[in-house]
Subunit: 407 residues, 2 copies
C-alpha cells in the first residue's frame, strides 16, 4: 500500500532531527503543519534556524532520496503493524503531551520537548482519555520489586487505569505483565476503552487499553530481544510507541529522552525500585516538572535498589505508596470536573486557590510566558503548568505562540 503524504511527512520529520527536537523545529512544524513543514525541509526551503538543526540528517540528500527514505520507514513500520500519528490526529494524546510544550526546553527541563510524531503499534488515545499510571524502576530489580510492580500493574489495570512504562527487564516488564495478566480473559472489566482506536494491531480489536510501552529504539525492534513476545503482547493489549525511526538503536541517551514521554502519558508516576543513579529518578523529576504526581515504594533500608525511592520520599519529592489502595486515595484527577456554576457566578468561581492565582496573574491584554506567570503568581513553574492545564480545560486560558493569555 502506497504511503500517504501525511505518513511520508511524519516519517520524514521523525528522521530529520534527534529528539528532544529543538524549539525552532517544533515551532516551525507547529506553525506550518507536518506536510508543509516537511516539504520545506525536504526541498531545502526551511529557514536557517530549522535548516541548521536538520542539516546533520538531511544535508546532502535530495528531495527524492528523503522521500524514499521516509517511504521505506513507513513500509518497515507497517510490517511491524505500526502506524504513524502526529498532532491533529484524533488518536494523538494532545492533552497529555501539552505540558511538554509548556516547560522551558533546554533550561529547567532540557528533555521536555513534545514528540513531532509517533510510531505506534496497538491502540491510540481517544479524545478525553485520561493519562495512565507510570510504573517505573530499575532493570536490576529485586524479587521484591518485581512482585510489587506486578501487583501494582495488575491492580491499576483491574481498576481501569492504563499502565505506562518502558520495555526493559525488571520493573518495566513486571508492571506490564501484571497489567496484561490482570485483564487476561476478563477484558470487560479491565483497561480503558476509548472511542477511536485509529489503525492498529489487527488482532487487538476486542482487547482493551491496558498497558503502554514507550521504546527508546525503532518500533520494528525489540529491546531487549528477550522481550519480543512481551512487547508483542503489550501491542495486542494496549500500545507500543516510539518516536525513533525504524532501525534506530537504543542508544543510552535515548532512554533518558524517552522517559519524558512515559512521564507525560501518565497522571502519576510510581517509582518501585531505583538505585541511587537509576534512570527512573529522571522520569520522576520530569513528571514533577510536568506538574504530575510522583510516588515511590519503600523497601529494605539495606537494599541498594530502594535507595533512590527512599531519597525521593525523604526529600519530599515523592509520596510514599505501599500499593494500589494508597494510590486510590491520593491520585488527583488530571482534568478535574469543571467547577459547578450558579447563575450570576463568574467563570472563575470555584477554582482552587493556585489556579485562581495563575488566572489572576494572566494579563487582561496580551500574553505572557510560563516563567513570567510563575514570577507574577509567586508559584513554582510545575504548579503554574498544572493550573494552566486546568484553565485551558475550562476554557479560561489559551496558548498563543508559546505564550499564555486569557480567552
Amino acid at each position: 500500500m502506497r504511503p500517504t503524504h501525511r505518513e511520508i511527512a511524519l516519517a520524514g520529520l521523525l528522521r530529520c532531527a534527534e529528539p528532544p527536537v529543538a524549539p525552532a523545529v517544533l515551532a516551525f512544524v507547529d506553525a506550518l503543519g507536518a506536510e508543509e513543514a516537511w516539504a520545506a525541509i525536504a526541498g531545502g526551503l526551511a529557514p536557517d534556524e530549522v535548516a541548521s538543526v536538520v542539516q546533520p540528517r538531511v544535508g546532502g540528500l535530495g528531495r527524492d532520496e528523503l522521500e524514499a527514505q521516509a517511504a521505506r520507514d513507513v513500509a518497515i513500520a507497517a510490517e511491524s503493524r505500526a502506524v504513524l500519528v502526529g498532532p491533529g490526529d484524533p488518536d494523538w494524546p494532545e492533552e497529555l503531551f501539552a505540558p511538554l510544550d509548556w516547560v522551558r526546553p533546554y533550561e529547567q527541563c532540557p528533555h521536555a520537548a513534545p514528540p513531532l510524531a509517533l510510531y505506534r503499534r496497538g491502540r491510540g488515545w481517544a479524545t478525553g482519555d485520561r493519562g495512565g499510571l507510570a510504573v517505573v524502576g530499575s532493570r536490576a530489580a529485586t524479587a521484591y520489586g518485581m512482585r510489587v510492580a506486578t501487583e501494582l500493574g495488575g491492580d491499576a489495570a483491574r481498576f481501569g487505569w492504563t499502565v505506562v512504562s518502558g520495555a526493559a527487564y525488571g520493573i518495566d516488564a513486571a508492571a506490564h505483565r501484571g497489567a496484561l495478566h490482570a485483564v487476561d480473559g476478563e477484558a470487560s472489566h479491565g483497561g480503558r476503552l476509548g472511542d477511536d482506536w485509529g489503525r492498529g494491531e489487527s488482532g487487538s480489536a476486542a482487547g482493551c487499553f491496558t498497558t503502554v510501552a514507550v521504546l527508546a529504539c525503532g518500533i520494528d525492534r525489540a529491546y531487549p530481544a528477550a522481550h519480543r513476545a512481551l512487547i508483542d503482547a503489550i501491542a495486542q493489549g494496549g500500545a507500543v510507541i516510539s518516536e525513533y525511526p525504524p532501525g534506530s538503536v537504543p542508544a543510552r541517551h535515548r532512554f533518558l529522552v524517552r522517559n519524558r514521554l512515559i512521564a507525560a502519558l501518565a497522571e502519576a508516576t510510581v517509582v518501585v525500585e531505583a538505585g541511587r543513579r537509576s534512570g527512573s529518578l529522571n522520569t520522576a523529576t520530569t513528571a514533577a516538572n510536568l506538574g504530575r504526581q510522583v510516588f515511590a515504594v519503600p523497601g529494605l533500608v539495606s537494599s541498594a535498589m530502594s535507595v533512590g525511592c527512599h531519597d525521593l520520599i525523604r526529600e519530599g519529592r515523592a509520596g510514599l505508596v505501599t500499593g494500589w489502595p494508597d494510590l486510590v486515595g491520593m491520585l488527583e484527577p488530571l482534568a478535574p470536573a469543571a467547577p459547578t456554576h450558579r447563575p450570576g457566578d463568574r467563570p472563575t468561581d470555584g477554582l482552587d486557590l493556585v489556579t485562581s492565582r495563575v488566572h489572576d496573574a494572566l494579563p487582561a491584554r496580551g500574553a505572557v510566558s510560563v516563567d513570567t506567570l510563575a514570577g507574577d503568581a509567586a508559584l513554582p513553574v510545575p504548579d503554574v503548568i498544572g493550573a494552566l492545564a486546568m484553565l485551558r480545560t475550562f476554557g479560561l486560558a489559551q496558548r498563543r505562540d508559546g505564550l499564555w493569555c486569557r480567552t
Copy 2:
C-alpha cells in the same frame, strides 16, 4: 540506712496517685515542694481537689502507715540499687520534662503530665544534658527490624547520643543491645558524660551514659523476666527509670503512659517497626505533641510490621530515615546555640521566624496560656511549645503559674 525526709516524700507521692498525675496534684506539689506537699497529703490536710485524687490510694491509711509504706518503697528500691530523684535535684532532667508540663493535659495530649519523681538505677542527667534518641517499635519485630534497631542504637551511641527506649522484646531490646555493644570496651569514645551522676549503680562509675530504659513497672521488677540481664546491663551502662512504686505490675495502660517519658527524654524519636496499632505510634504522636522530631524506618510493603511506619511517613507525621547517616543531617538541636549578638542588637535579633512570632505574641504585661499564644501567633501548639523552650533557654520567656510571660 534510714531514708531521708525527701526520699520518703518522693516515694509517698509516687504511690499516692497513678500517672499521669492530675493537674491539681501536679500544681500542688509544684507550689509547696515535695516534702511539704507530702506532709499535707499524708496528714489529711491537702485541699479537696488534691484529696479527691489521692483518696483511692491514701484513704483510710494514717500518717504512720503511709510513711512506713513509703519507707518500705525506698528500702526495696535501694535493694535494686535505685535512687529517688525529683524536680529540683541536680540530676533531674528538668529541661527535657518541661514540655510535658506545657501541653494541655487531658485535652490534646492526656498523657502529657510530667512525673512527680522517678526511681532510677544508674546514672542521672546532668544539667544541660541534651536529650537522647528514642528508638522504639514493635515487640513482635522482624529480623530486619531488629537489625536496623541494633545498628541505629549502635551508631547513635558511637556518636555520643543516648538511646532511649522501653525494655520490651523486639525493637527496644535491639536498640539497647546495639548501644551497649557499640561502647563495650571503648567507653572513652561512646556515650555522653555528664558532670553529676547522683547516687547510682555502684559498678557504673567508669561507664558512660549510653542508653536509658523507661519501665512500665516497679524499678525492682524485670519485665519481661527474660530481660533481667539486659536491664541490669542498661543500669550499668546508662540508666533504668520508673515512676511506678516498687512492686507495680506492668499493666497495659502503663505502657502508653510510660511512652510519654521516652518521648520527652529524646530530642527525636525513631519508629523502626510498628504494626498498624503499635504502641510506638503513640510514642511518636506524643513526641510530635512535645515539639520533638519524629522519624520512621521504611520496610517491605508486604510487612505488617512496617505498616505503622509507612502510615507515619505517608501522612507526613514522620520523616523517612534509613539509618544514622540520614539522621545526622536532619536532627535539629533541642536547645540551639544562642543567637550571636552584636552591640546594639535587641535580644530577640537572630531568632528564627516561628520563635520571633511566639515572642511577639507574648503580651508586654501579664501572662497567657500556650493555647492563647497558639491562637495569637497563628501557630500549631507543638510549634509554640518548641519556641517557648527556646525562648526560655535564651532567657526571653518564663512560665508562671502555668502561664507564659516575657522575662
